[in-house]
């Protein structure tokens, strides 16, 4: 059922087995897994069922470092940021989970294999009817991968959720579950531990209308999103002055995004037919299990990443246009707003003289725009702290100091150069690398709305906030869900992995409750 926290009598005490703070992809996934069990669940959501500007303003904060849209990159109502999710899904690579000696602070306490059963279940949650992420033969009816030269660049696939708006799609599941109560418009003001700080005692709750009440859970899951998770831990400081789980000053650190660079490169290819339709367009494919929407992309191979000690990049094809020989149309006529277009027919004719074949008609090739996203190195200086400014609940706002390094930039540029080699060695394409070299990376050209790493997993509490079971170090009954868990950001979109980790945590909690285990032993 749904209860509006604003309607609760002042001072209400709610006792529950499990409190889940946040009803986004992670929180709703966990709640659904516990639906129909004997475990009482209080799902605590700051917002209502629809967007509300006053609630959304609670996300406003202070910026240092790289400029970033703190408010517009996330949504604070039932369903969370899935309410504007783009639906891009791909599991992380096995290498992403490994300790890589060339990536400081890398290494998850779990492997990709540990997560595989949960990725399978996560696909269902995200309404994806295939798992063909890496097999070109699965999509052969739409074309074949470009046979790029060398072993550095590979074709891989994204599969698309419709996108699942978790709030709309799964509202009935939450509403109809007899053991779940979702409290809307209900903000956690503080997670209050016991005197020794080792256990969650209760949650101080409040509404923007001024109601104050208390939730007392046996077990608590913090699932507010990759920025807010860190903020809630930091402002829960009435007992632990540095905030919960923060005795080693790790909470809030290692904030990562996926820098998205618009137009980092241009591709020229001699023949449109050499670029399968599913590189260029979202492609719907009929399967017995249902329709699947997929799209091909280019990624750096594991062999290349290991050999060159680099981090990954994903490249996608953007809109394209034909390039005509200059006897037919001048480049200025073909692309009046693109001075660089003057060279396109010349580059293509050069390729046709060396590694391709002469054009059979007026069209000498095609130009493709390119988009990309890249992994950034975990950086403890890139962090979330508390601002001196207060929000409408009287709580310190977020202060985000997102940092990117020159090495992140160099990494992306080197990957683009590898793509240029792969196209040139193939012979039918050439690449222009537009992403400039700079001595630092202080302005992000784009981002993914991916908030990663600020309450990272690590077995050693000096290097992480939670352990392999997502339990906060030093606390027996506080767990965290969401992308703040990621020790490294990987290269691809986080939501599928967020859901997979949430399902894994849900199983862990279910098993703990079912065994009658004290919450301290979960």
């Amino acid at each position: 059922m749904f209860i509006d926290g604003r309607q609760l009598p002042e001072g209400t005490l709610i006792e529950t087995d499990l409190a889940i703070i946040g009803a986004g992809a992670a929180g709703i996934s966990i709640a659904r897994e516990l639906a129909g069990t004997g475990i009482s669940v209080a799902l605590l959501e700051s917002g209502g069922l629809e967007f509300d500007a006053e609630t959304q303003d609670l996300y406003e904060g202070e910026l240092a470092g790289v400029n970033y849209p703190l408010t517009s990159s996330r949504l604070r109502y039932f369903g969370g940021t899935t309410n504007h999710w783009g639906g891009w899904c791909r599991p992380f690579e096995p290498l992403d989970f490994e300790k890589r000696d060339w990536v400081p602070y890398s290494g998850w306490p779990i492997t990709r294999a540990d997560l595989d059963p949960y990725y399978t279940r996560a696909l269902d949650v995200c309404q994806i009817r295939s798992s063909g992420f890496d097999d070109p033969s699965e999509w052969a009816e739409g074309g074949a991968p470009m046979p790029l030269a060398g072993d550095e660049v590979e074709t891989r696939f994204f599969l698309y959720s419709p996108p699942t708006r978790f709030g709309k799609k799964y509202r009935p599941d939450i509403e109809n579950a007899p053991n779940i109560t979702c409290y809307l418009n209900s903000n956690v003001l503080e997670i209050v531990p016991t005197e020794n700080g080792a256990e969650v005692d209760h949650l101080r709750m409040g509404t923007l209308s001024g109601v104050r009440f208390t939730v007392r859970p046996r077990v608590c899951v913090l699932a507010c999103g990759g920025i807010e998770n860190a903020r809630v831990l930091l402002l829960s400081n009435s007992v632990e002055s540095a905030g919960l789980g923060n005795r080693n000053d790790v909470v809030g650190r290692f904030f990562m995004e996926h820098p998205h660079v618009p137009s980092p490169a241009t591709f020229l290819v001699s023949d449109l037919n050499l670029v399968a339709n599913w590189y260029r367009n979202y492609t719907r494919v009929n399967r017995d299990t249902g329709n699947v929407v997929m799209r091909g992309c280019l990624m750096m191979s594991e062999a290349y990443l290991r050999r060159t000690k680099r981090m990954g990049t994903v490249l996608t094809f953007a809109p394209s246009r034909p390039i005509l020989s200059e006897s037919v149309a001048s480049a200025e006529e073909a692309a009046p707003n693109d001075p660089g277009a003057l060279l396109h027919p010349k580059i293509l004719q050069l390729a046709r003289s060396t590694t391709s074949t002469p054009a059979e008609g007026d069209e000498v090739g095609w130009r493709f725009g390119v988009g990309c996203a890249s992994e950034q190195e975990p950086n403890p200086a890139s962090r979330i702290t508390l601002s001196d400014k207060k929000d409408a609940l009287g709580l310190p706002r977020t202060r985000l100091d997102w940092r990117l390094k020159k090495s992140d930039r160099d990494n992306l540029r080197a990957n683009l150069e590898a793509v240029a080699r792969a196209f040139g060695g193939w012979g039918e394409g050439r690449v222009q690398v537009l992403f400039p070299e700079r001595d630092e990376w202080t302005e992000a050209e784009g981002w993914g709305n991916h908030h990663l790493g600020s309450t990272r997993m690590a077995e050693d509490p000096r290097h992480g906030v939670v352990d392999a079971n997502c339990r906060v170090h030093g606390m027996s009954n506080l767990f965290i869900a969401g992308s703040s868990l990621f020790p490294t950001g990987a290269t691809v979109n986080p939501t599928l992995t967020v859901v997979a980790l949430a399902l894994r945590l849900a199983d862990h909690l279910k098993n703990g409750f079912a065994a009658g285990t004290p919450s301290s032993s979960f």
Partner: protein
């Protein structure tokens, strides 16, 4: 992949024979195994006038290009960007070396020369022997071809 087609801009003159090989028919020129490169306006005298071991001249290399003016623009750009030596001899030597590394020797026919050129360019990319012209990543072989085209155009037009 094989193609059988004629490039109307570049008719083959069958009266010129390659000095070191049999007379090449038009159809033989057009059908190429492997890379299927069709003939451009390649005089049959291409690479003809060298005794074994002598250097090749820029015109021979430039003749391999579909779009000499376009290549000249790229070559001039590379020179302006400060990346390219302006000496034709340097590029002739470089090209000869890169082609020989692909098994080419002076006196080979046009098909073999084009095949060696294709291999040389691909090998450049795989070995990261690349240059940048207006941020386009091209092979060193292509770069040298473009500079030779630029120098030839400069000589022709003053």
């Amino acid at each position: 992949m094989e193609h059988d087609h004629q490039s109307p801009d570049h008719p083959h003159d069958a009266s010129h024979e390659h000095a070191h090989g049999p007379a090449v028919s038009r159809r033989t020129l057009l059908i190429l195994g492997g890379t299927a490169l069709a003939a451009a306006a390649i005089p049959g005298a291409l690479f003809r006038h060298e005794p074994a071991g002598s250097g090749l001249v820029a015109a021979d290399f430039v003749a391999l290009l579909q779009d000499k003016e376009g290549a000249a623009v790229l070559g001039r750009r590379w020179i302006e960007e400060g990346g390219a030596p302006e000496s034709a001899a340097v590029h002739e030597k470089r090209l000869e070396k890169l082609l020989r590394a692909q098994g080419w020797i002076p006196g080979m026919g046009i098909e073999d020369t084009r095949a060696a050129l294709s291999s040389a360019v691909r090998a450049d990319y795989l070995a990261a022997r690349t240059i940048s012209i207006a941020d386009w990543y091209l092979s060193e072989t292509e770069g040298s071809l473009c500079v030779l085209a630029a120098l030839a155009a400069k000589q022709q037009h003053g």
